[in-house]
Symmetry: C5
Subunit: 91 residues, 5 copies
């Protein structure tokens, strides 16, 4: 997973039927998290809002939530971090 | 998913039989979306056309649409964004 | 998928038994296609030859062809483009 | 797999129910291991602690451990290396 | 797949039980093969030794070998190239 900040939303009305009801969020990984990905679109599975710091899973992991097994999604917000202070790093 | 613009098409007549009928589109991710991927070929699953801004799913997510489960595809257009104005980012 | 040019071959006699009969081709993505991958080895599933421009699928998509479901492969040539002229880009 | 050092932890209380009980560790790949990934969050499956050098598997490999098959995770610590001295490289 | 050279080994005694018996090799992709991956750890499935040039499959392809279906691995050596001379490239 990567830690990212939710910075926006995007709406698609014409989409695969298996995506109906999905909430598309634009997330931006923390700079220290991944250098090759700038921003991506993740489906919210954890009740996240703009400004939240979240855990994002990519690949088939995004379809583990009950009800999402057959959705055409490759990235999902799977957890919300209450505060960036909870990210503890001891280098 | 990433947001990309449909910029072209490509035709392959000699291909795996599980790809017959697939519409191959060349998409270019928005510059803010992913820095390491320039362009890729995605199979259209949402009725997209050249110039459209679309949601592209990669990996096994591209085979979630009914009928595409056994296709040799690793990228698909799964939704169309009506206008780039619907991409809302609050930084 | 990415569009690549077939530029070579490689032979491995000592390999997983599920790879026996596989034809290993070295492919080079078009420069506009993906910046982080230089060359890779893909199993031919479309009758490609050196110099051909081809569609390459990566990941589990490479094992969708009937008979390849249990092969240890993560990249496959799934289609041949008759001519680079068939790649239409309208920017 | 990549070899990484465990450098931190992160706590998420609001998360997918299939993640309850997961221990989220922040890991940093060895500089020689992967140049495009800086840090990522991996679920501990091997009893790792901060400062440990570990083997990290990504993708569906992270869900092979018994009990984790349905978890929304895309990275896991699957082994602990007792000491960096056990990494033998003959160039 | 990518072509890589086996340059080392690593030992992990505390690991997932599904990894017992796995031989972890450190491999380095040929410079022309992939620019974003430096080195990675791959499980040997082809009897490779240090100095060998090998085919490495990543992702779920690493678990196709009979007996490895449930192992927590995301990279495997699936073939050995007898000599770098067998890599034929016609540019």
């Amino acid at each position: 997973m990567i830690i990212a900040k939710v910075i926006g939303t995007v709406v698609s009305t014409r989409k695969n039927s298996n995506l109906i009801g999905s909430k598309f969020m634009i997330v931006e990984p923390l700079p220290v998290m991944q250098s090759d990905i700038k921003r991506l679109v993740a489906v919210d599975q954890a009740g996240a809002g703009i400004g939240d710091y979240v855990l994002v899973s990519v690949g088939s992991a995004a379809r583990m939530l009950s009800g999402s097994e057959a959705a055409s999604i490759d990235a999902a917000i799977v957890g919300v971090i209450d505060s960036p202070d909870e990210i503890v790093v001891k280098e």
